[in-house]
Symmetry: C2
Subunit: 288 residues, 2 copies
Protein backbone atom coordinates (compact mmCIF):
# COMPACT_ATOMS: atom_id res chain seq x y z
CA UNK A 1 0.00 0.00 0.00
CA UNK A 2 3.05 2.21 0.31
CA UNK A 3 3.90 4.33 -2.70
CA UNK A 4 6.48 7.05 -3.27
CA UNK A 5 5.58 10.31 -1.58
CA UNK A 6 3.31 12.50 -3.70
CA UNK A 7 4.04 16.00 -4.95
CA UNK A 8 3.15 17.67 -8.21
CA UNK A 9 4.38 20.97 -9.53
CA UNK A 10 1.87 22.64 -11.84
CA UNK A 11 2.62 25.69 -13.93
CA UNK A 12 -0.52 27.30 -15.36
CA UNK A 13 -0.72 30.79 -16.86
CA UNK A 14 2.61 31.67 -15.25
CA UNK A 15 1.37 30.69 -11.82
CA UNK A 16 3.27 27.95 -10.03
CA UNK A 17 1.21 25.61 -7.87
CA UNK A 18 2.40 22.76 -5.71
CA UNK A 19 -0.04 19.92 -5.12
CA UNK A 20 0.80 17.77 -2.09
CA UNK A 21 4.18 17.75 -0.46
CA UNK A 22 5.45 14.34 0.65
CA UNK A 23 8.81 13.90 2.38
CA UNK A 24 11.68 14.82 0.08
CA UNK A 25 9.62 17.15 -2.14
CA UNK A 26 12.17 19.95 -1.97
CA UNK A 27 14.95 17.64 -3.14
CA UNK A 28 12.78 16.46 -6.05
CA UNK A 29 11.86 20.03 -6.96
CA UNK A 30 15.53 20.96 -7.08
CA UNK A 31 16.35 17.92 -9.22
CA UNK A 32 13.52 18.79 -11.60
CA UNK A 33 14.77 22.40 -11.67
CA UNK A 34 11.25 23.60 -10.90
CA UNK A 35 10.76 27.29 -10.19
CA UNK A 36 10.99 26.66 -6.50
CA UNK A 37 10.69 30.20 -5.25
CA UNK A 38 7.74 31.00 -7.51
CA UNK A 39 5.43 28.67 -5.60
CA UNK A 40 2.89 30.90 -3.86
CA UNK A 41 0.07 28.39 -3.45
CA UNK A 42 0.34 24.89 -2.03
CA UNK A 43 -2.66 22.56 -2.15
CA UNK A 44 -2.61 19.57 0.23
CA UNK A 45 -5.11 16.80 -0.51
CA UNK A 46 -5.06 15.11 2.88
CA UNK A 47 -3.01 14.84 6.03
CA UNK A 48 -1.30 11.51 5.53
CA UNK A 49 2.46 11.60 5.80
CA UNK A 50 3.25 10.70 2.21
CA UNK A 51 1.33 13.81 1.10
CA UNK A 52 2.41 16.36 3.71
CA UNK A 53 5.62 15.42 5.56
CA UNK A 54 7.74 17.45 3.14
CA UNK A 55 5.92 20.69 3.97
CA UNK A 56 7.85 21.71 7.13
CA UNK A 57 11.17 21.27 5.31
CA UNK A 58 9.99 23.11 2.21
CA UNK A 59 8.80 26.08 4.25
CA UNK A 60 12.07 26.10 6.23
CA UNK A 61 14.00 26.15 2.98
CA UNK A 62 11.92 29.08 1.69
CA UNK A 63 13.03 30.93 4.82
CA UNK A 64 16.69 30.04 4.33
CA UNK A 65 16.45 31.25 0.74
CA UNK A 66 15.30 34.64 2.02
CA UNK A 67 11.71 34.43 0.83
CA UNK A 68 9.54 37.43 1.66
CA UNK A 69 6.43 36.64 -0.41
CA UNK A 70 3.19 35.51 1.21
CA UNK A 71 2.61 31.76 0.97
CA UNK A 72 -0.89 30.28 0.82
CA UNK A 73 -1.42 26.71 1.99
CA UNK A 74 -4.77 24.99 1.33
CA UNK A 75 -5.52 21.78 3.14
CA UNK A 76 -7.75 19.90 5.56
CA UNK A 77 -8.64 21.33 8.94
CA UNK A 78 -5.80 20.51 11.30
CA UNK A 79 -3.00 21.54 8.94
CA UNK A 80 -2.66 24.94 10.62
CA UNK A 81 -2.36 23.49 14.13
CA UNK A 82 0.14 20.88 12.95
CA UNK A 83 2.35 23.30 11.06
CA UNK A 84 2.22 26.02 13.70
CA UNK A 85 3.13 23.50 16.41
CA UNK A 86 6.11 22.41 14.32
CA UNK A 87 7.17 26.01 13.65
CA UNK A 88 6.88 26.91 17.34
CA UNK A 89 8.80 23.92 18.66
CA UNK A 90 11.52 24.02 16.00
CA UNK A 91 11.73 27.80 16.47
CA UNK A 92 11.19 28.33 12.77
CA UNK A 93 10.46 32.00 12.30
CA UNK A 94 9.70 32.75 8.68
CA UNK A 95 10.50 36.11 7.24
CA UNK A 96 7.25 35.73 5.30
CA UNK A 97 3.65 35.07 6.20
CA UNK A 98 2.05 31.66 5.73
CA UNK A 99 -1.73 31.81 5.37
CA UNK A 100 -3.51 28.54 5.98
CA UNK A 101 -6.84 28.00 4.24
CA UNK A 102 -8.43 25.12 6.13
CA UNK A 103 -10.98 23.00 4.33
CA UNK A 104 -13.73 20.90 5.84
CA UNK A 105 -16.61 21.04 3.34
CA UNK A 106 -17.81 17.86 1.71
CA UNK A 107 -18.99 19.85 -1.31
CA UNK A 108 -16.82 21.18 -4.10
CA UNK A 109 -15.88 24.80 -3.53
CA UNK A 110 -13.77 27.43 -5.22
CA UNK A 111 -10.67 27.91 -3.09
CA UNK A 112 -8.60 30.16 -5.33
CA UNK A 113 -9.27 32.64 -8.09
CA UNK A 114 -7.34 35.37 -9.79
CA UNK A 115 -7.80 36.99 -13.19
CA UNK A 116 -6.58 33.93 -15.09
CA UNK A 117 -6.98 30.77 -13.04
CA UNK A 118 -9.56 29.17 -10.74
CA UNK A 119 -9.04 26.26 -8.39
CA UNK A 120 -11.86 24.10 -7.01
CA UNK A 121 -11.83 21.27 -4.50
CA UNK A 122 -12.91 17.78 -5.57
CA UNK A 123 -14.22 16.01 -2.46
CA UNK A 124 -12.81 12.49 -2.35
CA UNK A 125 -13.45 9.35 -0.33
CA UNK A 126 -10.36 8.18 1.56
CA UNK A 127 -9.70 6.93 5.09
CA UNK A 128 -9.19 10.54 6.19
CA UNK A 129 -10.79 13.79 4.96
CA UNK A 130 -9.41 14.35 1.47
CA UNK A 131 -9.86 16.65 -1.52
CA UNK A 132 -8.60 16.55 -5.05
CA UNK A 133 -8.16 19.86 -6.85
CA UNK A 134 -9.37 21.11 -10.21
CA UNK A 135 -7.24 23.78 -11.87
CA UNK A 136 -8.99 25.67 -14.63
CA UNK A 137 -7.70 28.47 -16.81
CA UNK A 138 -10.33 31.15 -17.27
CA UNK A 139 -11.57 31.78 -20.82
CA UNK A 140 -8.89 33.70 -22.66
CA UNK A 141 -9.33 36.76 -24.83
CA UNK A 142 -9.98 36.37 -28.54
CA UNK A 143 -7.35 37.77 -30.89
CA UNK A 144 -8.22 40.90 -32.87
CA UNK A 145 -8.28 40.44 -36.64
CA UNK A 146 -6.87 43.86 -37.50
CA UNK A 147 -7.23 43.31 -41.22
CA UNK A 148 -11.01 43.01 -40.87
CA UNK A 149 -11.34 45.62 -38.12
CA UNK A 150 -9.54 48.24 -40.21
CA UNK A 151 -12.32 48.02 -42.79
CA UNK A 152 -14.67 49.74 -40.29
CA UNK A 153 -13.25 53.14 -39.28
CA UNK A 154 -16.15 53.46 -36.87
CA UNK A 155 -14.60 50.78 -34.60
CA UNK A 156 -12.48 52.56 -32.01
CA UNK A 157 -9.70 51.35 -29.77
CA UNK A 158 -12.08 51.44 -26.81
CA UNK A 159 -14.16 48.74 -28.56
CA UNK A 160 -11.25 46.32 -28.64
CA UNK A 161 -11.83 45.21 -25.06
CA UNK A 162 -15.38 44.06 -25.88
CA UNK A 163 -14.24 42.42 -29.10
CA UNK A 164 -11.59 40.40 -27.26
CA UNK A 165 -14.31 39.23 -24.89
CA UNK A 166 -16.45 37.96 -27.78
CA UNK A 167 -19.01 40.76 -28.07
CA UNK A 168 -20.51 41.86 -31.38
CA UNK A 169 -20.30 45.50 -32.51
CA UNK A 170 -23.33 47.54 -33.51
CA UNK A 171 -22.55 50.26 -36.06
CA UNK A 172 -24.33 53.64 -35.97
CA UNK A 173 -26.60 52.57 -38.82
CA UNK A 174 -27.80 49.66 -36.69
CA UNK A 175 -25.86 47.06 -38.63
CA UNK A 176 -24.38 44.37 -36.36
CA UNK A 177 -20.86 43.13 -37.03
CA UNK A 178 -20.50 39.55 -35.79
CA UNK A 179 -17.58 39.05 -33.40
CA UNK A 180 -16.32 35.96 -35.19
CA UNK A 181 -15.72 38.05 -38.31
CA UNK A 182 -13.55 40.56 -36.45
CA UNK A 183 -11.56 38.25 -34.18
CA UNK A 184 -9.76 34.95 -34.19
CA UNK A 185 -10.38 32.30 -31.57
CA UNK A 186 -8.69 32.54 -28.20
CA UNK A 187 -6.18 29.94 -27.11
CA UNK A 188 -8.03 27.07 -25.49
CA UNK A 189 -8.35 27.20 -21.71
CA UNK A 190 -6.65 24.26 -20.16
CA UNK A 191 -7.90 22.32 -17.16
CA UNK A 192 -6.19 19.80 -14.90
CA UNK A 193 -7.75 17.63 -12.21
CA UNK A 194 -5.76 15.96 -9.44
CA UNK A 195 -7.55 13.10 -7.67
CA UNK A 196 -5.64 11.31 -4.94
CA UNK A 197 -6.20 9.44 -2.61
CA UNK A 198 -9.70 8.06 -3.08
CA UNK A 199 -11.94 5.09 -3.49
CA UNK A 200 -13.81 4.82 -6.82
CA UNK A 201 -16.18 7.76 -6.59
CA UNK A 202 -18.69 8.67 -9.30
CA UNK A 203 -19.67 11.94 -7.63
CA UNK A 204 -16.45 13.50 -8.93
CA UNK A 205 -17.51 13.00 -12.56
CA UNK A 206 -19.57 16.20 -12.97
CA UNK A 207 -16.75 18.22 -11.36
CA UNK A 208 -14.00 16.93 -13.64
CA UNK A 209 -16.17 16.63 -16.79
CA UNK A 210 -14.18 17.26 -20.00
CA UNK A 211 -10.91 18.24 -18.34
CA UNK A 212 -7.82 18.11 -20.50
CA UNK A 213 -5.81 16.01 -18.09
CA UNK A 214 -7.00 13.93 -15.18
CA UNK A 215 -4.44 12.59 -12.73
CA UNK A 216 -6.15 9.80 -10.85
CA UNK A 217 -4.61 7.49 -8.31
CA UNK A 218 -4.55 3.79 -9.14
CA UNK A 219 -2.90 2.13 -6.17
CA UNK A 220 -3.91 -1.41 -7.16
CA UNK A 221 -4.92 -3.54 -10.10
CA UNK A 222 -8.54 -4.62 -10.14
CA UNK A 223 -7.85 -8.13 -8.83
CA UNK A 224 -7.13 -6.37 -5.52
CA UNK A 225 -10.40 -4.42 -5.60
CA UNK A 226 -11.23 -5.53 -2.05
CA UNK A 227 -7.90 -4.27 -0.79
CA UNK A 228 -8.48 -0.99 -2.66
CA UNK A 229 -11.85 -0.50 -0.99
CA UNK A 230 -10.49 -1.43 2.41
CA UNK A 231 -7.56 0.98 2.23
CA UNK A 232 -9.49 3.76 0.48
CA UNK A 233 -7.88 3.49 -2.93
CA UNK A 234 -8.81 2.97 -6.58
CA UNK A 235 -7.86 0.31 -9.11
CA UNK A 236 -6.48 1.09 -12.56
CA UNK A 237 -9.66 -0.20 -14.17
CA UNK A 238 -11.80 2.05 -11.98
CA UNK A 239 -9.65 5.12 -12.69
CA UNK A 240 -10.13 4.43 -16.41
CA UNK A 241 -13.89 4.15 -15.92
CA UNK A 242 -13.94 7.54 -14.22
CA UNK A 243 -11.91 9.01 -17.09
CA UNK A 244 -14.30 7.60 -19.68
CA UNK A 245 -17.45 8.67 -17.87
CA UNK A 246 -16.04 12.16 -17.33
CA UNK A 247 -14.98 12.36 -20.98
CA UNK A 248 -11.52 13.67 -20.10
CA UNK A 249 -8.90 14.00 -22.82
CA UNK A 250 -6.01 12.26 -21.08
CA UNK A 251 -5.67 10.15 -17.96
CA UNK A 252 -2.44 9.94 -15.98
CA UNK A 253 -2.24 7.18 -13.40
CA UNK A 254 -0.14 7.29 -10.26
CA UNK A 255 0.27 6.42 -6.55
CA UNK A 256 1.04 2.78 -7.36
CA UNK A 257 1.51 0.34 -4.51
CA UNK A 258 5.13 -0.68 -4.27
CA UNK A 259 4.13 -4.34 -4.53
CA UNK A 260 4.24 -3.83 -8.30
CA UNK A 261 7.64 -3.74 -9.95
CA UNK A 262 6.45 -3.50 -13.54
CA UNK A 263 4.05 -0.59 -13.86
CA UNK A 264 3.01 -1.42 -17.42
CA UNK A 265 0.32 -3.69 -15.94
CA UNK A 266 -1.52 -0.55 -14.81
CA UNK A 267 -1.40 0.85 -18.30
CA UNK A 268 -2.64 -2.40 -19.81
CA UNK A 269 -5.57 -2.65 -17.44
CA UNK A 270 -6.65 0.98 -17.87
CA UNK A 271 -6.16 1.21 -21.64
CA UNK A 272 -8.77 -1.44 -22.26
CA UNK A 273 -11.35 0.97 -20.87
CA UNK A 274 -9.72 4.28 -21.69
CA UNK A 275 -6.98 4.22 -24.34
CA UNK A 276 -5.66 7.72 -23.65
CA UNK A 277 -4.02 6.60 -20.42
CA UNK A 278 -0.42 7.42 -19.51
CA UNK A 279 2.07 6.57 -16.79
CA UNK A 280 4.06 9.47 -15.45
CA UNK A 281 7.75 8.99 -15.14
CA UNK A 282 8.79 10.46 -11.82
CA UNK A 283 9.84 14.07 -12.32
CA UNK A 284 8.67 14.03 -15.91
CA UNK A 285 7.24 17.35 -16.93
CA UNK A 286 3.87 16.76 -18.51
CA UNK A 287 2.86 19.49 -20.94
CA UNK A 288 -0.88 19.75 -21.38
CA UNK B 1 24.60 28.00 6.54
CA UNK B 2 22.45 25.28 5.01
CA UNK B 3 23.92 21.81 4.92
CA UNK B 4 22.48 18.42 3.95
CA UNK B 5 20.08 17.05 6.56
CA UNK B 6 21.86 15.14 9.32
CA UNK B 7 21.35 11.50 10.25
CA UNK B 8 23.83 8.89 11.44
CA UNK B 9 23.29 5.20 11.83
CA UNK B 10 25.51 3.68 14.52
CA UNK B 11 25.88 -0.01 15.13
CA UNK B 12 27.59 -0.82 18.43
CA UNK B 13 27.63 -4.22 20.13
CA UNK B 14 24.75 -5.36 17.90
CA UNK B 15 22.60 -2.42 18.91
CA UNK B 16 21.45 -0.09 16.16
CA UNK B 17 21.18 3.57 17.05
CA UNK B 18 20.01 6.44 14.90
CA UNK B 19 21.41 9.88 15.67
CA UNK B 20 19.34 12.75 14.28
CA UNK B 21 16.79 12.29 11.56
CA UNK B 22 16.67 15.04 8.93
CA UNK B 23 14.21 14.98 6.04
CA UNK B 24 14.86 12.05 3.73
CA UNK B 25 16.60 9.90 6.36
CA UNK B 26 14.51 6.83 5.59
CA UNK B 27 15.46 7.02 1.90
CA UNK B 28 19.15 7.33 2.82
CA UNK B 29 18.88 4.41 5.26
CA UNK B 30 17.39 2.24 2.52
CA UNK B 31 20.10 3.28 0.07
CA UNK B 32 22.78 2.45 2.63
CA UNK B 33 21.06 -0.88 3.33
CA UNK B 34 21.14 -0.11 7.04
CA UNK B 35 19.30 -2.47 9.36
CA UNK B 36 16.28 -0.24 9.32
CA UNK B 37 13.97 -2.28 11.47
CA UNK B 38 16.61 -2.92 14.12
CA UNK B 39 16.65 0.72 15.20
CA UNK B 40 15.17 0.79 18.70
CA UNK B 41 16.73 4.02 19.97
CA UNK B 42 16.75 7.36 18.19
CA UNK B 43 18.75 10.25 19.60
CA UNK B 44 17.84 13.75 18.39
CA UNK B 45 20.36 16.50 19.09
CA UNK B 46 18.08 19.49 18.63
CA UNK B 47 14.77 20.49 17.15
CA UNK B 48 15.88 22.21 13.97
CA UNK B 49 14.30 20.86 10.82
CA UNK B 50 17.47 19.50 9.24
CA UNK B 51 17.90 17.24 12.28
CA UNK B 52 14.34 16.12 12.93
CA UNK B 53 11.99 16.55 9.93
CA UNK B 54 12.57 12.96 8.80
CA UNK B 55 11.27 11.52 12.06
CA UNK B 56 7.51 11.55 11.32
CA UNK B 57 8.08 9.75 8.01
CA UNK B 58 10.47 7.22 9.53
CA UNK B 59 8.00 6.34 12.27
CA UNK B 60 5.16 6.07 9.71
CA UNK B 61 7.29 3.70 7.67
CA UNK B 62 7.99 1.57 10.73
CA UNK B 63 4.23 1.23 11.10
CA UNK B 64 3.74 0.32 7.43
CA UNK B 65 6.46 -2.31 7.79
CA UNK B 66 4.46 -3.91 10.61
CA UNK B 67 6.79 -2.98 13.44
CA UNK B 68 5.69 -4.10 16.90
CA UNK B 69 8.82 -3.35 18.92
CA UNK B 70 8.96 -0.44 21.36
CA UNK B 71 10.78 2.60 19.99
CA UNK B 72 12.67 5.01 22.26
CA UNK B 73 13.21 8.58 21.11
CA UNK B 74 15.56 10.85 23.05
CA UNK B 75 15.48 14.56 22.36
CA UNK B 76 14.88 18.06 23.65
CA UNK B 77 11.74 18.96 25.55
CA UNK B 78 9.04 19.69 22.99
CA UNK B 79 9.71 16.67 20.79
CA UNK B 80 6.87 14.71 22.38
CA UNK B 81 4.31 17.46 21.85
CA UNK B 82 5.44 17.98 18.27
CA UNK B 83 5.41 14.32 17.33
CA UNK B 84 2.16 13.54 19.10
CA UNK B 85 0.46 16.51 17.42
CA UNK B 86 1.65 15.22 14.05
CA UNK B 87 0.50 11.66 14.84
CA UNK B 88 -2.91 12.89 16.01
CA UNK B 89 -3.58 15.16 13.05
CA UNK B 90 -2.27 12.74 10.42
CA UNK B 91 -4.16 9.92 12.15
CA UNK B 92 -0.97 7.90 12.40
CA UNK B 93 -1.70 5.05 14.78
CA UNK B 94 1.39 2.96 15.34
CA UNK B 95 1.07 -0.69 16.13
CA UNK B 96 3.99 -0.11 18.50
CA UNK B 97 4.68 2.20 21.38
CA UNK B 98 6.93 5.24 21.02
CA UNK B 99 8.46 6.37 24.30
CA UNK B 100 9.79 9.91 24.31
CA UNK B 101 12.63 10.72 26.69
CA UNK B 102 12.63 14.50 26.88
CA UNK B 103 15.85 16.24 27.81
CA UNK B 104 16.29 19.66 29.34
CA UNK B 105 19.37 19.41 31.56
CA UNK B 106 22.40 21.54 30.83
CA UNK B 107 24.65 18.94 32.46
CA UNK B 108 25.82 15.69 30.89
CA UNK B 109 23.61 12.79 31.93
CA UNK B 110 23.34 9.11 31.20
CA UNK B 111 20.26 8.60 29.01
CA UNK B 112 20.63 4.95 28.05
CA UNK B 113 22.30 1.91 29.51
CA UNK B 114 22.07 -1.81 28.98
CA UNK B 115 24.54 -4.60 29.72
CA UNK B 116 26.90 -3.60 26.93
CA UNK B 117 26.47 0.05 25.99
CA UNK B 118 25.98 3.40 27.71
CA UNK B 119 24.90 6.67 26.15
CA UNK B 120 25.49 10.10 27.67
CA UNK B 121 24.41 13.55 26.59
CA UNK B 122 27.02 16.15 25.65
CA UNK B 123 25.46 19.58 26.31
CA UNK B 124 26.22 21.86 23.37
CA UNK B 125 25.89 25.56 22.64
CA UNK B 126 23.65 26.25 19.64
CA UNK B 127 20.86 28.72 18.90
CA UNK B 128 18.37 26.27 20.37
CA UNK B 129 18.74 23.69 23.20
CA UNK B 130 21.06 21.01 21.84
CA UNK B 131 22.91 17.90 22.99
CA UNK B 132 25.55 15.77 21.39
CA UNK B 133 25.69 12.11 22.42
CA UNK B 134 28.52 9.92 23.66
CA UNK B 135 28.22 6.20 22.94
CA UNK B 136 30.49 4.00 25.00
CA UNK B 137 30.84 0.24 24.99
CA UNK B 138 31.14 -1.13 28.51
CA UNK B 139 34.39 -2.95 29.40
CA UNK B 140 34.31 -6.36 27.79
CA UNK B 141 35.20 -9.68 29.35
CA UNK B 142 38.77 -10.96 29.17
CA UNK B 143 39.32 -14.20 27.25
CA UNK B 144 40.16 -17.35 29.21
CA UNK B 145 43.57 -18.81 28.47
CA UNK B 146 42.54 -22.48 28.79
CA UNK B 147 46.06 -23.73 28.26
CA UNK B 148 47.21 -21.97 31.43
CA UNK B 149 44.00 -22.56 33.38
CA UNK B 150 44.18 -26.31 32.80
CA UNK B 151 47.46 -26.41 34.70
CA UNK B 152 45.51 -25.70 37.90
CA UNK B 153 42.86 -28.39 38.50
CA UNK B 154 41.71 -26.41 41.50
CA UNK B 155 40.22 -23.71 39.21
CA UNK B 156 36.60 -24.59 38.63
CA UNK B 157 34.12 -23.53 35.99
CA UNK B 158 32.41 -21.29 38.51
CA UNK B 159 35.65 -19.27 38.73
CA UNK B 160 35.58 -18.45 35.04
CA UNK B 161 33.14 -15.59 35.53
CA UNK B 162 35.53 -13.81 37.92
CA UNK B 163 38.49 -14.52 35.68
CA UNK B 164 36.73 -12.97 32.69
CA UNK B 165 36.10 -9.90 34.80
CA UNK B 166 39.81 -9.55 35.62
CA UNK B 167 39.91 -10.98 39.14
CA UNK B 168 42.90 -12.96 40.47
CA UNK B 169 42.41 -16.46 41.87
CA UNK B 170 43.61 -17.47 45.36
CA UNK B 171 44.48 -21.16 45.60
CA UNK B 172 43.76 -23.13 48.75
CA UNK B 173 47.43 -22.89 49.79
CA UNK B 174 47.11 -19.11 49.71
CA UNK B 175 49.03 -18.68 46.50
CA UNK B 176 47.58 -15.99 44.28
CA UNK B 177 47.38 -16.60 40.54
CA UNK B 178 47.53 -13.31 38.69
CA UNK B 179 44.62 -12.79 36.31
CA UNK B 180 46.87 -11.68 33.44
CA UNK B 181 48.57 -15.09 33.49
CA UNK B 182 45.25 -16.94 33.09
CA UNK B 183 43.46 -14.70 30.61
CA UNK B 184 44.06 -12.77 27.43
CA UNK B 185 43.03 -9.13 27.10
CA UNK B 186 39.45 -8.26 26.28
CA UNK B 187 38.61 -6.58 22.98
CA UNK B 188 38.95 -2.86 23.45
CA UNK B 189 35.77 -0.96 24.30
CA UNK B 190 34.96 1.50 21.60
CA UNK B 191 33.55 4.98 22.10
CA UNK B 192 31.97 7.43 19.69
CA UNK B 193 31.02 11.05 20.29
CA UNK B 194 28.58 12.98 18.11
CA UNK B 195 28.77 16.77 18.48
CA UNK B 196 26.43 18.82 16.30
CA UNK B 197 25.31 21.66 16.17
CA UNK B 198 27.46 23.82 18.43
CA UNK B 199 29.70 26.78 18.85
CA UNK B 200 33.30 26.05 19.93
CA UNK B 201 32.81 24.75 23.44
CA UNK B 202 35.65 23.64 25.70
CA UNK B 203 33.31 22.26 28.36
CA UNK B 204 32.74 19.19 26.19
CA UNK B 205 36.40 18.18 26.40
CA UNK B 206 36.24 16.23 29.70
CA UNK B 207 33.14 14.38 28.46
CA UNK B 208 34.65 13.25 25.16
CA UNK B 209 38.20 12.73 26.50
CA UNK B 210 40.06 9.90 24.69
CA UNK B 211 37.14 8.73 22.55
CA UNK B 212 37.98 6.59 19.55
CA UNK B 213 36.03 8.69 17.09
CA UNK B 214 34.71 12.21 17.46
CA UNK B 215 32.24 13.51 14.91
CA UNK B 216 32.27 17.27 15.25
CA UNK B 217 30.44 19.76 13.10
CA UNK B 218 32.54 22.23 11.13
CA UNK B 219 30.06 24.38 9.28
CA UNK B 220 32.59 27.05 8.28
CA UNK B 221 36.28 27.64 7.75
CA UNK B 222 37.98 29.83 10.32
CA UNK B 223 37.94 32.97 8.16
CA UNK B 224 34.19 32.97 8.83
CA UNK B 225 34.64 32.63 12.59
CA UNK B 226 32.28 35.56 13.22
CA UNK B 227 29.57 33.94 11.11
CA UNK B 228 30.13 30.66 12.99
CA UNK B 229 29.67 32.36 16.34
CA UNK B 230 26.63 34.28 15.16
CA UNK B 231 24.86 31.20 13.79
CA UNK B 232 25.97 28.86 16.58
CA UNK B 233 28.45 26.78 14.64
CA UNK B 234 32.11 25.73 14.73
CA UNK B 235 34.97 26.22 12.30
CA UNK B 236 37.17 23.37 11.05
CA UNK B 237 40.12 24.79 12.96
CA UNK B 238 38.12 24.90 16.18
CA UNK B 239 36.83 21.35 15.75
CA UNK B 240 40.45 20.21 15.34
CA UNK B 241 41.42 22.10 18.52
CA UNK B 242 38.69 20.30 20.43
CA UNK B 243 39.89 16.96 19.05
CA UNK B 244 43.47 17.68 20.08
CA UNK B 245 42.60 18.92 23.56
CA UNK B 246 40.32 15.90 24.13
CA UNK B 247 43.03 13.55 22.85
CA UNK B 248 40.59 11.66 20.62
CA UNK B 249 41.90 9.08 18.18
CA UNK B 250 40.08 10.23 15.05
CA UNK B 251 38.08 13.29 14.11
CA UNK B 252 35.36 13.24 11.48
CA UNK B 253 34.12 16.60 10.26
CA UNK B 254 30.66 17.29 8.90
CA UNK B 255 27.68 19.67 8.59
CA UNK B 256 29.49 21.83 6.04
CA UNK B 257 27.80 24.96 4.79
CA UNK B 258 26.75 24.54 1.19
CA UNK B 259 28.70 27.65 0.26
CA UNK B 260 31.72 25.34 -0.08
CA UNK B 261 31.96 23.18 -3.19
CA UNK B 262 35.35 21.67 -2.48
CA UNK B 263 35.33 20.12 0.98
CA UNK B 264 39.06 19.39 1.03
CA UNK B 265 39.55 22.92 2.41
CA UNK B 266 38.04 21.70 5.68
CA UNK B 267 40.45 18.83 5.84
CA UNK B 268 43.41 21.09 5.12
CA UNK B 269 42.47 23.56 7.83
CA UNK B 270 41.81 20.89 10.48
CA UNK B 271 44.81 18.66 9.70
CA UNK B 272 47.26 21.43 10.55
CA UNK B 273 46.03 21.19 14.14
CA UNK B 274 44.92 17.56 14.26
CA UNK B 275 46.29 15.28 11.53
CA UNK B 276 43.89 12.37 12.21
CA UNK B 277 40.98 14.24 10.63
CA UNK B 278 38.68 12.71 8.04
CA UNK B 279 35.80 13.78 5.83
CA UNK B 280 32.86 11.42 5.73
CA UNK B 281 31.50 10.59 2.36
CA UNK B 282 27.74 10.67 2.62
CA UNK B 283 26.45 7.18 3.41
CA UNK B 284 29.95 5.89 3.94
CA UNK B 285 30.05 3.30 6.66
CA UNK B 286 32.82 4.22 9.06
CA UNK B 287 34.20 1.29 10.99
CA UNK B 288 35.75 2.25 14.27
Amino acid sequence: MKSAPTAQFLEMEERCFLIDCGEGTQVQLRKAKAKFSKINHIFISHLHGDHVFGLPGLISSFRLLGRETLLHVYGPKGIKEMMETIFRITETHQGFEVVFHELSSKKSEKVFEDNRVEVFTIPLDHRIYCNGYLFREKPKERHLNMQEISKYPEIEICDYHNLKRGKDIQLSDGYILKNENLTKPAEPSVSYAFCSDTRYLESIIPIIKNVDVLYHEATFLHDLKKMADYTGHTTALEAAKIARKANVKKLILGHFSNRYNDLSVFLNEACEIFPETYLPEQLEAVKI
